[in-house]
Symmetry: C2
Subunit: 200 residues, 2 copies
Amino acid sequence: MASKDRILRLKEETRVNILEAALQIVKAEGWQALSMRKIADVIEYTAPIIYEYFANKEAILLELNRQGYLKLSKQLQEAKDKHTSPANQLEEMWLSYWNFAFANKELYQGMFGITTSCACKMVNELPEAELPWDIISASIGELMNIQDMDSDIICTKYYTFWSVVHGLVSINLLDRGDSDKINRQVLRDAITGIIRSITP
Amino acid sequence: MASKDRILRLKEETRVNILEAALQIVKAEGWQALSMRKIADVIEYTAPIIYEYFANKEAILLELNRQGYLKLSKQLQEAKDKHTSPANQLEEMWLSYWNFAFANKELYQGMFGITTSCACKMVNELPEAELPWDIISASIGELMNIQDMDSDIICTKYYTFWSVVHGLVSINLLDRGDSDKINRQVLRDAITGIIRSITP
DNA sequence: ACATTTGCTTAACACTGTTAAATAATCTAA
DNA sequence: TTAGATTATTTAACAGTGTTAAGCAAATGT
């Protein structure tokens, strides 16, 4: 019976190995260079065994995205916990969002870029993709004294925040951003501006 | 001699046909489904002759992007021409930018999404990618009474505009946007907000 | 009419994701 | 311990990708 456990543990281990190998390749050569055979090479197997752990390549990407959302959510929560006032929490969280994007370029591109065919489908299959929304909109609701988290007004404000931050991030990931100084200034200006505009 | 002209005209025509076929496939099946053999099918040739007109697939994408930037620039210019005051021009142009993105989803995704490996390289090879910047920052400069188009302040303001609009666009292209009503409100709020903040 | 260039296709190479069949290794039971 | 059954892993193959080289056929120049 214990041997079964060992085998199960080994299987779980190679599952993790597959994901780590995938991320390693993506970090080294980019999403476009990720192939099943390359993953197999890294974990020292042949390609078909990967299909014992994942239905297909898409499933691997989906799992990486899921982990990305979890990591982002964790960092957002930690940022939030540093302050008590919603305004400070929001500022800290969006800066943390910004930092996450650049500390995890590839992950972020997988989550919000267009990695495969249509990222839309993916997100609909990932409940974790809603976690960041939950954490941040709670602060918005508190700041604006609104209980209903699904109200249009919170929705709107969340999108405003997200748009400017995500926009700034994508532009920089596309290598169109200028100096880091300018970026940080735009980011801070925009965030504080929005916060001021919704502070009663 | 005239026959040479006819042949040259025919060659130019199939070059155009290749690009049109490519765009047609992308619109019908998405960027990921675009292949040389499919293009050849549409123009009723075999794949290798495409290489008589374009160095490789990348070159076709590059040309499509170029056309995208030109089309966008034209629409921005038309929007600008509708008004005389810089503030009104800016609002009209950014709304026009928004409309372009959704009237030309695929083109926009090719231009600012991550179609191939790394869009960075592409943009550096496309002088046309700077046209929108030229047109819009001229209005920003006029509004702020600044002559030097390369000044940091104009740069910063341009990025602020672009970030919020592009962010909102990408989010909606990823199918994460809610109702069109909310989007339009966020867009207008953000644009007028930025304009107010830089109006002397 | 012959030679040469041009236009175009077929064949091939090295990849890609994915599946089915064949083999090697392990475990189970007599 | 050995025979049989399971499981783990690989090899081979299919259909697709971008791309290149070789071959053929038709038009052109002399």
